[in-house]
């Protein structure tokens, strides 16, 4: 009733192959975009921007990046934290070396630099797979953190080894530094996340994405039908690195403002993004958003409920938060191993048949 294709006729091929072939779905998508771009910027405040929306959007970009690599191409990566650090340090060096160039150029450039680095670390994937590849990317994680700690050039020789983002604007609107308005932070992240999602969605629908999925499903079979495994794997690493680099760049410059590689881009980050992808749903762009929302919003929600509503001691709340979040992750993985995206898919199927499910 709510969600069906009856009366929704596609009369041309482009219509038939569009991203949201069902009218209801398409309108829902436009409504979400309209709310995100036209409503939220006007009502957002510092707390909502810094605690909820900006981290959610940035992690969503990172999750899309990892999802391309792990979910679509089947290459497990534990190096996301280190790769985000590459994006962060790249954008820092660019911002401080070329202050007059717009951030709208620096951030994608940082993404490209990260893509290059990630591709290099992706080379072992041509020989090894599965757990062995995971260990190789884990090595990348530790190497990159060590590198950014060890070589002072990366942090411009500052005494504490911290990098902090100077004030930069885009068309006169300040988007980094302490004087940034909440809405500006939010909008800049939203623009990047929207572009990233559209690009990722279309890549995965096209021939590139099909090659990735062929490699994921069975690499020998893919090779036999003419997919070049080297190209497919390396493009997956490069595209994934590009998005993760953008996420790292925004994470440092817009969200944190000051960062230290060991703490901000440690192994925890790699696992956090991996959890997002697994909980959200491997091989789904929507899943990247759902997973990021789950992992970012749930702790904030639990904290507000436990401490704000119930007035419990903060240490108890913090420990309970781990227990509840961990428990939910386990429950999710047992009940729905394909993640939140699969739940959403099932809900849509149910709605299509409603009120006569069978």
């Amino acid at each position: 009733m709510f969600y069906r294709e009856a009366g929704d006729f596609n009369t041309s091929y482009p219509e038939d192959s569009q991203t949201f072939p069902i009218k209801f779905d398409r309108y829902r998508y436009y409504v979400v975009l309209a709310v995100a771009f036209l409503v939220i910027p006007f009502i957002i405040n510092d707390y909502w921007a810094n605690a909820v929306f900006v981290p959610f959007l940035i992690y969503a970009i990172a999750a899309i990046g990892l999802n391309i690599l792990t979910g679509y191409c089947g290459q497990v990566s534990l190096g996301t934290g280190g790769f985000m650090a590459v994006g962060a340090y790249a954008v820092y060096k660019l911002m401080t070396s070329f202050p007059e160039v717009s951030m709208l150029i620096h951030v994608p450039l940082a993404g490209l630099i990260t893509a290059g680095v990630v591709t290099v670390f992706g080379l072992p994937s041509l020989r090894i797979k599965g757990f062995y590849l995971a260990v190789a990317t884990l090595a990348a994680q530790f190497f990159l953190v060590w590198l950014f700690n060890k070589v002072p050039w990366f942090y411009n020789y500052s005494a504490s080894g911290q990098i902090s983002s100077p004030e930069r604007d885009v068309f006169g609107i300040i988007i980094t530094g302490p004087n940034t308005e909440a809405w500006a932070k939010y909008v800049i992240c939203l623009i990047f996340v929207t572009l990233a999602a559209v690009i990722a969605r279309n890549l995965t629908r096209g021939s590139v994405g099909r090659k990735w999925m062929a490699i994921r499903d069975m690499d020998i079979a893919a090779e036999i039908i003419g997919v070049n495994p080297m190209m497919a794997k390396l493009t997956a690493f490069a595209v994934s690195g590009f998005f993760i680099g953008i996420a790292g760049a925004l994470f440092f410059s817009v969200y944190l403002g000051a960062a230290e590689v060991g703490e901000s881009f440690g192994i925890d980050k790699s696992f956090l993004v991996l959890f997002m992808v697994i909980i959200g749903g491997l091989g789904s762009i929507f899943g990247s958003f759902a997973g990021a929302a789950f992992m970012v919003l749930l702790p904030v929600l639990l904290k507000n409920v436990f401490v704000g509503f119930l007035g419990w001691p903060t240490d108890l709340a913090a420990h309970l938060q781990f227990i509840v979040a961990g428990g939910l992750i386990i429950v999710f993985l047992i009940m729905e191993p394909h993640g939140l995206a699969q739940l959403w898919r099932l809900a849509k199927e149910k709605l299509r048949l409603w009120p006569f499910p069978h």
């Binding site: 707390y47 005494a159 004030e167 000051a258 960062a259 904290k303 509503f309």
Partner: protein, 423 residues
């Protein structure tokens, strides 16, 4: 999401704005740094509870401590800052150098003072650049100088080998530049030995120390790293009297796990230790016995409890100063900032509070947000189970430090387009 909206809206609605003097406590009672975070947070909160219970607040206005758990994590620290700043927070004391670096630009933009007592960015001592950041009474670079001075007082330092075991973060890296300058000046050899967060595994670092046999070890550690380092030092039979920690590596929790072997370990401090003060009688009477103590209420008299209490005391004194300066009882963050800049701690004031001889006297000014940098050396007596001061409060090598402060703060001013000057 809707529920969160409701939750936040309810919190916002439930908290009266500007009615109390709000002192947020960005504490950490969980994670690898909890052993050190808990006593500090308890001391901070208990002192304000005491003021409320005994005096009805500061100048008749009740105080309110909003606790927010950061887990020593910068992202959570920022979230805590954003969540509490709207409630009229007067001063932030995050007890984390990482969070401090995040907050320095934010508090400056929002006009809220930040007090980083013995931690944070050392060059914030220069109030002409860092208008909203205070780090009195002493800072990391003072600490490095104290440690070197103490080693010098025990014999000729020239040609000695000194190792710095440090937390591989902004915190641990702070003293490196000072120590390098000092090593040039005094002719000792400096070895840097980083320990990565959280520092539970230090076998290779202490193997290196065993191999290179430095004459002295200076430690800038925090949390679980301290206990492990002291245990490892005991395991390689490193002479404890040649092992000296910064004030953040000198709490009971750090030395107790090593038992008798920790006997003789030294740590710096910028305030006195123990609970032999009149204020403690009041604390026991009004707070602990009344069942209003923060946490488990079992930390009284420990080194970090004293430090948390001292931090709260300095904040309360600054609030008093602000009330006197402005003539207003209810304070804004801007008034609080002025109060902190005009703060003067005298022996009479401390005696009146019930903490005679507790810390050095100092006076804050716009040019000097860092106090005089006095510090003393404490030594652990494992049989008695207590710290005792073995030196008086001594000054640090300001010739070296002031130059570095000026250099670093000028770099920050240039980086963030700040015009130096006093308001």
């Amino acid at each position: 999401m809707k529920f969160t909206t409701l939750a936040v809206a309810a919190i916002m609605a439930a908290s009266p704005v500007m009615a109390d003097l709000v002192f947020p406590s960005l504490s950490y009672r969980t994670g690898p740094y909890a052993a050190n975070g808990i006593p500090f947070a308890d001391g901070y909160e208990d002192y304000f509870t005491l003021l409320n219970e005994r005096d009805g607040g500061i100048g008749g206005v009740p105080t309110k401590v909003i606790e927010c758990e950061t887990g020593y994590n910068t992202e959570k620290g920022v979230e805590c800052y954003e969540a509490t700043k709207a409630e009229g927070a007067l001063v932030y004391q995050p007890l984390s150098t990482g969070i401090t670096y995040q907050l320095i630009p934010k508090v400056t933009a929002d006009g809220i003072p930040l007090h980083t007592m013995g931690y944070g960015r050392t060059s914030a001592k220069n109030g002409k650049v860092f208008s909203n950041v205070f780090n009195y009474p002493a800072n990391y670079w003072d600490g490095a100088s104290h440690a070197v001075n103490h080693i010098m007082s025990q014999g000729d330092i020239k040609g000695k080998k000194i190792a710095l075991v440090y937390h591989n973060s902004a915190y641990g890296k702070e003293p490196i530049r000072t120590l390098e300058e000092l090593s040039k000046k005094h002719g000792f050899e400096l070895t840097l030995i980083p320990v990565d967060h959280p520092g539970q595994e230090q076998k290779s670092q202490w193997l290196q120390i065993r191999r290179e046999k430095p004459d002295n070890v200076i430690m800038y550690g925090w949390g679980v790293m301290n206990q492990v380092a002291i245990q490892e030092a005991a395991n390689i039979r490193f002479p404890m009297e040649n092992f000296i920690g910064i004030w953040w590596s000198g709490s009971e929790n750090d030395v107790l796990p090593a038992g008798d072997k920790a006997n003789g370990y030294k740590a710096l401090t910028f305030h006195n230790l123990g609970d032999d003060y009149p204020l403690y009688d009041d604390l026991r009477k009004y707070v602990v016995d009344a069942g209003k103590a923060a946490g488990a209420g079992d930390q009284l008299g420990t080194a970090l409890y004293n430090r948390g209490m001292y931090a709260a005391m300095l904040a309360a004194e600054a609030a008093k100063t602000a009330q006197e300066l402005s003539g207003q009882k209810e304070l804004t963050p801007a008034l609080m900032r002025d109060g902190m800049e005009a703060l003067e701690i005298t022996e009479e004031k401390m005696a009146a509070i019930g903490l005679p001889n507790f810390g050095p006297t100092f006076k804050v000014s716009c040019e000097n947000h860092g106090g005089d940098g006095l510090g003393a050396v404490a030594q652990w007596d494992a049989t008695a189970g207590e710290w005792s001061l073995i030196t008086g409060y001594e000054g640090s090598d300001q010739d070296v430090i002031q130059g570095l402060v000026d250099e670093d703060s000028a770099a920050f001013a240039a980086e963030s387009n700040i015009d130096e000057g006093c308001k």
